[in-house]
Symmetry: C2
Subunit: 432 residues, 2 copies
Amino acid sequence: MLRIITQKTEAEAELRRICDRIHDDQMIHKEATVSEVIQTVRRKGDAALLHYTAEFDRQDITQAELRVSGAELDAAYQQVNSELLKAIETAHARIEAFHRQRVPKSWVQFADKDVVLGKRYTPVDIAGIYIPGGKASYPSTVLMNAVPAMVAGVKRVVMVTPPGGSKTINPAILVAAQVAGVEEIYRVGGAQAIAALAYGTETIPNVDVITGPGNVYVTLAKKQVYGRVGIDSLAGPSEVLIIADKTANPVYVATDMLAQAEHDQMAAAILITTDARLATRVTEEVERLLEQHPRRLLTEKAIAHYGLVVVVENLKIAADLSNLFAPEHLELEVEEPWDLLDSIRHAGAIFLGHATPEAVGDYLAGPNHTLPTSGAARYASALGVETFMKHSSLIQYTPEALKEVAGAIALLTEAEGLPSHGDSVRVRLEDI
Amino acid sequence: MLRIITQKTEAEAELRRICDRIHDDQMIHKEATVSEVIQTVRRKGDAALLHYTAEFDRQDITQAELRVSGAELDAAYQQVNSELLKAIETAHARIEAFHRQRVPKSWVQFADKDVVLGKRYTPVDIAGIYIPGGKASYPSTVLMNAVPAMVAGVKRVVMVTPPGGSKTINPAILVAAQVAGVEEIYRVGGAQAIAALAYGTETIPNVDVITGPGNVYVTLAKKQVYGRVGIDSLAGPSEVLIIADKTANPVYVATDMLAQAEHDQMAAAILITTDARLATRVTEEVERLLEQHPRRLLTEKAIAHYGLVVVVENLKIAADLSNLFAPEHLELEVEEPWDLLDSIRHAGAIFLGHATPEAVGDYLAGPNHTLPTSGAARYASALGVETFMKHSSLIQYTPEALKEVAGAIALLTEAEGLPSHGDSVRVRLEDI
């Protein structure tokens, strides 16, 4: 079922098809729905949130129930066993430690004795985190979004997540939020939650930045409100690309591919290998593991549509194909992964060597698991502390410094036809 | 004509109105036009570019004329006088020196003896720079976009700009591009140029990141192609907010306000001062200067609609109002600007003291003049080298390190219902 391709041009075409799998025109008709939801929330506030929650999530909540109560937050700790709590705390500590490194710092300096230049970094005032509901309701997602906001120094971090059956929210989500320091949580999801965070309602504050993954409606809503607020990225379905040589273990490779495919029927799992025998053994192993997979149907669909094995002549070609795809996750299951790294130009996260499955990065290695998908690694990076910060340029001139550049500025303002720009320098020089 | 407000709540309402001046619903009907242009360029390539250039720019160019020729690039040097060339070179040198500072660097480290973590920074492969035509065709814009791309190490930087009369392009633009090292220039503008950069045509390559300002069609097109490519920001009309105390010179303040207003009839110029007498003198001075302004009509409109003077009791209130507005440019024309800085949370660029008009930053102080507008300084920063770079997270575990975290990962994968994630760790531990 997993196809093996040996032709480079065929591989390129397949990689392009898989990379483009969400740039489908089927999204276009959903844009109008999302736009209507956003406009309605802007006009009607909380009332619209309750209406859409009843319509889309089939949960009748009241305005007072929008915010998750302190009692519910407390109760969540009772519903999560102490071992899981400890695992969440372990993950939190490691993610925090990584994100605390190289946080942008303000600086100023004298460019010369009469000129001060610098950059001043500050956190956003309020951040909003979207956490999906249903099957994809993950405590790890909470940590990966909340920790960088907290490390950035954001004073107010709010979370939105849709209610499940009986209006409840997954207790592991509520516990993870509290471990990360987030206690302002609203029971609303979908495009309506994004609209609420962008424009504010009676209950929910409008925020400066919205982060977090979601379904296609959430993603389209984030794109529509971008510009009114900042967003992290437009997340698509997950993907892994594995480069393997003859030293790779076919069982590891096959399991890693399934660990990607089991997310979602749109997930992609790609192997590029220099070893034809490995290619065959991995496909056999994938087949075997699928038979007993608890999420078989969905996983099988992902493998059938977006699974791929490519056999290439050498690792240089493997790296070229990987750069074309610009994978979210790249595993280098080769003898010398650090040597191969030099040929890699685009990837969200890179897992080096045979003992580093993507799962360590998904949960607790430290680096963020919110990564660019669908080729966005060509220009974008992991979610990070920077997502919740911005800087102001700082400029100070003395009259003497201004005098020195006045001639050049006069010529440029003249060339651009902006007289008052020139005057703003000129009037200041009349006084010295 | 310039209104003076002394009531804080009225000032807040006015600042909100001015901040929201482009979030008008009049943009919505333009979205469909832009979407059609993009789809047509995707389908028809160069032919669509020639068609739209004839329709929108009234210039009949051929496919061969899309790319600016080497002869035209050479000729531009003859049309720019040597003093202006020198001014462009001076600006280039200063902008480059600033952007070369603190360029993100890759790093790796041992998180413990069995775990390597890091970040690997790389430039994008191809960047596309949009330069407006007509009245707003500025060589400074070319430098501010091209320099950070070059400093980032982008191998291929292409520029697009619409043709003016007789199909020509402003020679100062062509010279500035060459000074910055950009020689691949295409004669096309508007939404069609953005579509070409996002999807590619027979002549124009598809790029990874598009930067640069433009009219509302260009901005809407950038928003629509965002996700397919990276973009710098959604630029709105320019704005300055000046905080001044009694030490400020009313002529400086008035000239700085006009230097903003002369850009565009949507530009905003705001003064917040603790000195009522200064407020009156600035309004008088603005009135006087407007009478003889070479761009009077447009500048007067901007001042009438989006000019504002607010008198406040103290500098703390001035800072609060400024933070509400989150200005693109903030001038601190006060006695102790560095003290006031502590109260400022959001601003694109901050100009400190009486001898630092915004114009020095617009042209050659060094920091980028492409800044967040319309309140986007709450979450966004100046265009920079980072706009043209991205990083990959690096993770390497040894089997021993993996063993240590296996328990926590197993619990988390179970809680999230992702069995193969757990298996991907488990199979690796069977071998040690």
